[in-house]
């Protein structure tokens, strides 16, 4: 077995490797840039809101933006998204409103999921983005099932399921990959290898020389891509999704990236990695890298760059202000959506709770 080569697209001279060029137009390139900037702004605000006690928790994706943005832009109407908690960029790319995401952070009455989960546990039925859970990689076999159903109905759609390097150690990774291989489902496994599962480095997740090579054992292709190169990510995900939609079966994509921030606002990364290591990766920042590329191409200039950041920050600020003003979820909603209809025990508990007897 040999590890797949790492595919990249963006070259430092402003050209694109023709083999991995997704051939996007100028406005499309700008859109990707703006969405990465928006995602960074949302993450900065999310962390700040948690630090100031206005929300309870946050999981930033800083440093990895090229992954969800590049992948998300490869998705079409009808495709299913089984995300991890660090993939809100995919939601943005598929058209989730900023308000939907920010409301989930607040968990108040503006939140379509009624405050049922802690921040970053996204859900948006309108774009087939399946509700995120905290246990890692449970969504893998679920994505296989959703894509199996679509395949049997003859729908030209696929499912993308994303997870981190830690997720590849789980039993559910094996189950999902194995079922997808056996049933040849239209499922794209998108592994964002950000090098750490909280504090544990990828070298403690596997003795394998890559994560992508694992696909070989399941009978389908494994692809490695530079996860800080938004064009390369977009190209490989677009190709894998198209192949899956066309009946070509599943694929595993390992996107090599780096989480420059903490795992979550509860994490202290200085306990397990050096400043030097983080500094090296900051130089490879996917947004800065894409900005330099776009400037050489004449799609972006300093003024547009500053404007994009200002626009993104203002959009986030306004959304936060609007969402924060919404009232809390009503107490009686605690007992709803457990079942379609409220059973007798929950009806009794609700009545006692609301009357102050319990």
């Amino acid at each position: 077995m040999t590890d797949p080569v790492v595919i990249s697209a963006i070259r430092t001279d402003g050209s694109v490797d023709p083999a991995s060029d997704p051939g996007l137009t100028g406005p499309e390139l700008l859109l990707l840039y703006e969405k990465m900037v928006l995602l960074r702004s949302l993450d900065e605000k999310g962390v700040a809101l948690q630090r100031s006690g206005r929300i309870g928790f946050y999981i930033p994706s800083a440093g990895q933006e090229a992954c969800p943005v590049g992948a998300g832009y490869a998705l079409q109407e009808g495709d299913w998204i089984f995300p991890s908690y660090r993939d809100h960029g995919m939601a943005l790319m598929r058209g989730s409103s900023l308000a939907t995401l920010v409301a989930q952070l607040y968990g108040n009455s503006a939140d379509a999921t009624r405050g049922r989960q802690m921040p970053n546990h996204w859900c948006d039925r309108s774009i087939s983005l399946v509700s995120v859970s905290s246990p890692v990689a449970t969504q893998l076999p679920q994505a296989v099932g959703a894509s199996y159903a679509a395949m049997l109905r003859g729908e030209p759609v696929a499912a993308i399921v994303s997870f981190g390097d830690g997720g590849t150690s789980t039993g559910e990774f094996h189950a999902g990959m194995n079922f997808a291989g056996v049933f040849r489902t239209p499922t794209v496994f998108f592994c964002e290898n950000n090098r750490y599962a909280i504090s544990v480095p990828v070298s403690r997740q596997t003795a394998s020389t890559s994560l992508a090579v694992k696909a070989e054992a399941y009978g389908f292709p494994g692809i490695r891509v530079d996860g800080n190169d938004v064009l390369a990510v977009h190209k490989v995900v677009r190709d894998a999704m198209a192949r899956a939609r066309g009946g070509g079966g599943p694929a595993l994509i390992e996107a090599l990236t780096y989480r420059v921030g903490p795992h979550s606002t509860s994490d202290d990364p200085t306990l397990y990695r050096t400043e030097e290591e983080v500094a090296e990766w900051r130089k490879k920042d996917p947004i800065l890298r894409f900005a330099s590329f776009l400037k050489i191409r004449g799609v972006l200039n300093d003024a547009l760059e500053a404007e994009a950041t200002a626009v993104a920050r203002e959009a986030v600020r306004q959304t936060v202000a609007a969402v924060e003003a919404a009232p809390p979820v009503p107490p009686e909603s605690l007992f709803e959506d457990v079942y379609e209809e409220i059973p007798w025990n929950l009806a009794e508990q609700r009545a006692a709770f609301l009357s102050g007897r319990s």
Binding site: R116, H121, D124, G145, N178, D337, V338, N345
Partner: protein, 324 residues
């Protein structure tokens, strides 16, 4: 009406619902060409093909996870776990995923999956082919838990489960698969979820039992009647949501109650039933609620008959209750 076994009733429910609703799938280990280790799915693969009667890789978490995904995408999957003892590798998918989709998405996503699992002892299966794990699932918010004891209820409740908007854990008392025979309506037959059954009417004591313990309860009731004690046997059929009204009405009439189950005693579902009875019927109770259960041991192989409640143990509990 035809007289069939409980196993045949399960098979007929699956077959008829698959014919009626193309969204219904069966998936699990050996459910296809083998027809299931108990043959509950016999012949279904010939009728509906391997895309709808799916022999899966051997991984219960994967099976339930795949079923969840199918259900999220509009299908009606029915999972077979070969033995309820093997449900634990799928515990995370059932407890944290299947049961929680409606709540965590505030109704945006639902996963109406039926998980069938043969449960209970009496087949010389030792620890890994005999357990009764219903309490784990009753304790889990978001699940419906069913355990029929007659062929008619097996067909009617499984059909209702396959049409339920909520996930259902459907335990099948394997000891009764071929021993329980009874009249079952041909064609569509529905038994509502959440409604119990008076298996035997009586005036002196309420005996609550489910699954393979129902015939044990009936045998004990028969022997008690020879001693002049009229026992009412209540089979809840749906364990959760429990038909608490039926039990409450019965105990308020009889003033005495015994709960019977195969599963271990401590934190078994009998504890919850006993608590509900004392909360709701305390003024009418003439004595403490009795429990006859499996022991707090692993399920034994050689001493299976000692472990499982039998009519004699139940009768002793009935006599004790009648003294108070």
């Amino acid at each position: 009406m035809a007289r069939v076994t409980l196993l045949q009733a399960i098979h007929d429910a699956l077959l008829e619902e698959m014919e009626r609703d193309p969204r219904v799938f069966v998936l699990g280990e050996d459910v296809g060409r083998e027809g299931g280790v108990f043959r509950a799915t016999e012949g279904l693969i010939r009728r509906f093909g391997p895309d709808r009667v799916i022999d899966t890789p051997l991984n219960e978490g994967g099976i339930v996870g795949m079923a969840i995904g199918m259900a999220l995408n509009g299908m009606r999957p029915v999972v077979e776990i070969e033995f309820a003892d093997f449900i634990f590798p799928a515990f995370d998918q059932i407890v944290s995923e299947l049961a929680k989709f409606r709540y965590r998405s505030a109704g945006q996503f639902t996963a109406p999956v039926v998980v069938r699992a043969p449960s209970g002892g009496g087949v010389k299966g030792g620890h890994y082919h005999s357990q009764s794990p219903e309490a784990h699932f009753i304790h889990t918010a978001g699940l419906t838990v069913v355990m029929p004891s007659t062929p008619a209820d097996a067909k009617g409740l499984l059909t209702s489960a396959m049409r339920s908007p909520d996930p259902v854990i459907f335990f099948e008392p394997k000891a009764l698969y071929r021993t329980a025979k009874g009249e079952v309506p041909e064609g569509e037959h529905l038994v509502p979820i959440g409604v119990g059954r008076i298996a035997r009417p009586g005036e002196d004591l309420t005996l609550v039992a489910w699954g393979a313990m129902v015939p044990v309860a009936e045998a004990a009731a028969e022997r008690a009647s020879a001693e002049g004690v009229r026992v009412e046997v209540v089979d809840p059929r749906t364990l959760w949501p429990l038909d608490v009204g039926m039990i409450e009405a019965s105990v308020n009439r009889t003033g005495r109650a015994v709960v019977l189950h195969e599963a271990p005693r401590t934190c078994g579902f009998g504890a919850e039933v006993a608590a509900l009875i004392q909360e709701r019927c305390f003024p009418r109770l003439k004595g403490p609620v009795g429990r006859v259960t499996g022991f707090d041991t692993p399920f034994p192989y050689a001493l299976e008959k000692s472990y499982l409640p039998d009519p004699e143990r139940v009768l002793r509990a009935i006599r004790a209750a009648m003294k108070s």
